[in-house]
């Protein structure tokens, strides 16, 4: 089965170790490679990208490595891709034109 890996115990996102397609069921591994639980993938998530392990509301912090790595800018449903289209940096954010390029290059579906 395809796998995600969790980098910290408090994380609300996990990183794809395989390329995920919408509808896939995948295993979430702990940082020590232990199988924890399975999750349904609700959007294509390329290798190395992150899945929401729970519903995340606009304004909430994104936790990875047990640390705040950004802020949610648009509600994210469990199983969806967490990336530049719904998260911003709290320090030095990526300029919008670069975000647009990333979204285009990765073919991320952005709801208007």
């Amino acid at each position: 089965m395809k796998k995600f890996i969790l980098m910290g115990e408090k994380d609300i996102v996990a990183t794809a170790l395989d390329s995920m397609l919408k509808g896939d069921m995948a295993i979430v591994l702990s940082n020590d490679n232990e199988e924890m639980y399975s999750i349904k993938v609700n959007e294509n998530i390329p290798f190395g990208n992150k899945i929401a392990l729970m519903d995340i509301k606009k304004g909430e912090n994104i936790i990875k490595y047990d640390s705040v790595v950004g802020e949610c800018t648009k509600d994210i449903l469990k199983g969806k891709l967490v990336h530049v289209h719904n998260v911003r940096s709290l320090r030095v954010d990526i300029p919008q034109s670069f975000k647009n390029e990333i979204i285009k290059e990765m073919k991320i579906e952005v709801e208007v």
């Binding site: 980098m7 990183t15 990208n49 992150k50 640390s67 950004g70 967490v82 320090r91 290059e105 990765m106």
Partner: protein, 391 residues
């Protein structure tokens, strides 16, 4: 733990025995290239910014400190002769620590052809001098390892950075020194880093020097790329996320100090241990920063790129199975597949560092190197943003 190195007159120990031609201005680089032609182990450091001194003291300081690096046996310092960076300004401090240094300007030497001819004579003498050094057994407390990432992707945060961090801890435990840098890529990691300091002065340095980088790189209204689009396509969403992954390569040992490089001074590690530094996140310039701090070798994590430097060997570590090719010295992809642990890869890197210190070539040593970029902070911008070093 010991390694076999070249002991220099000032007590530092090189792991390579290079002759360095320093062109203090870009106009004499052609002369330098011609002088070096036909010789092995003769490498170039060129100041491409300017021939003026005022405002470029950080570059001057780095040229001096790179000349002092223990991987350099001796130097030839040249200038066109019409600029204000006199070659003696670079040569004299290098001579002071006991190295053999020659120095000349093209104008005083009768022009380009004669300077090349004379330069080749000097190089022959420097090579003879370099050959008087033989490798001898020295303690690992003479070894300084720089750690740096580049071409980062998701595998960096999961595999190569943690295994390099593991290596860093082990080198420090053995009695060596490790230097990390890229303060811009430690944004958001301040709390984690402060936990690793022993005194407030170092904590203050960490916070203010990272803040300086944040200010330098986030000017409203400018579309400045602080992490590459490729980083994001690979899965990195914010700089804080990239930072947390990057932090893993810094290990877990006490942070002794933050080494600064600026227009007034270049710090050096004063005792073995782990240090942070102002080494730039830009790879070419980072190698020169590391060399200026006295590092003899760099361990560099990547997806699959082949960064290399002519003065201080670069050991490349990748965990990305799809991109690994024969540029990569250490394969950390077993961690991604769940078949090898971080500590096991860390052991392999420690062994590789010692082998390379003993003279074993890295996978692409001598094949292709980045230029020795002299990166400096723009003094006009520093003044406008009111950024200061910490004394």
């Amino acid at each position: 733990m010991e390694f076999m190195g070249y002991e220099r007159p000032d007590g530092t120990v090189g792991i390579r025995n290079k002759i360095l031609i320093i062109s203090v201005d870009e106009c004499c680089e052609g002369i330098a290239k011609n002088i070096a032609k036909g010789f092995d182990d003769v490498i170039l450091l060129t100041n491409y910014y300017t021939c003026m001194l005022g405002g470029n003291e950080e570059t001057l300081n780095q040229m001096i400190e790179v000349g002092k690096n223990p991987n350099v046996a001796g130097c030839l310092v040249i200038a066109m002769g019409c600029g204000s960076i006199l070659p003696e300004l670079v040569a004299d401090p290098i001579k002071e620590i006991g190295k053999k240094v020659f120095c000349m300007t093209s104008i005083k030497n009768g022009g380009t052809r004669k300077t090349i001819e004379q330069g080749k004579e000097y190089i022959k003498e420097l090579i003879e001098y370099a050959e008087t050094f033989n490798r001898k057994k020295v303690s690992i407390d003479k070894l300084i390892v720089g750690v740096k990432c580049g071409g980062s992707d998701t595998s960096s945060g999961i595999a190569s950075n943690p295994s390099v961090g593991n290596m860093a801890d082990k080198i420090v435990d053995l009695g060596g020194t490790v230097i990390g840098g890229e303060l811009m890529e430690l944004l958001g990691c301040e709390d984690e880093l402060i936990k690793r300091t022993k005194n407030d002065k170092v904590s203050e340095k960490i916070v203010s020097l990272i803040k300086n980088e944040e200010i330098r790189w986030s000017v409203d209204g400018l579309e400045i790329e602080t992490m590459s689009i490729g980083n994001s396509v690979g899965g990195l969403t914010t700089l804080e996320e990239k930072s947390m992954g990057a932090l893993h390569k810094m290990g877990s040992k006490t942070i002794m100090d933050v080494l600064q490089v600026n227009k007034e001074f270049v710090d050096k590690p004063i005792e073995p241990g782990f240090y942070l530094s102002e080494t730039t996140m830009l790879c070419g310039g980072s190698a020169v920063n590391f060399a200026a701090f006295g590092a003899q070798v760099i361990v560099w994590t990547t997806g699959g790129a082949g960064f290399n430097n002519s003065l201080i060997p670069v050991i490349r570590v990748s965990g990305n199975e799809d991109l690994i090719n024969d540029d990569i010295d250490i394969d950390a992809s077993g961690i991604m597949k769940g078949v090898e642990g971080v500590s096991s890869v860390g052991d392999k890197i420690v062994k590789k560092v010692i082998d390379v210190a003993n003279g074993v070539h890295t996978n692409i040593e001598g094949y292709g190197e980045s230029s020795m970029t002299l990166y400096q902070k723009d003094q006009r911008v520093e003044k406008l943003l009111n950024l200061k070093c910490i004394k």
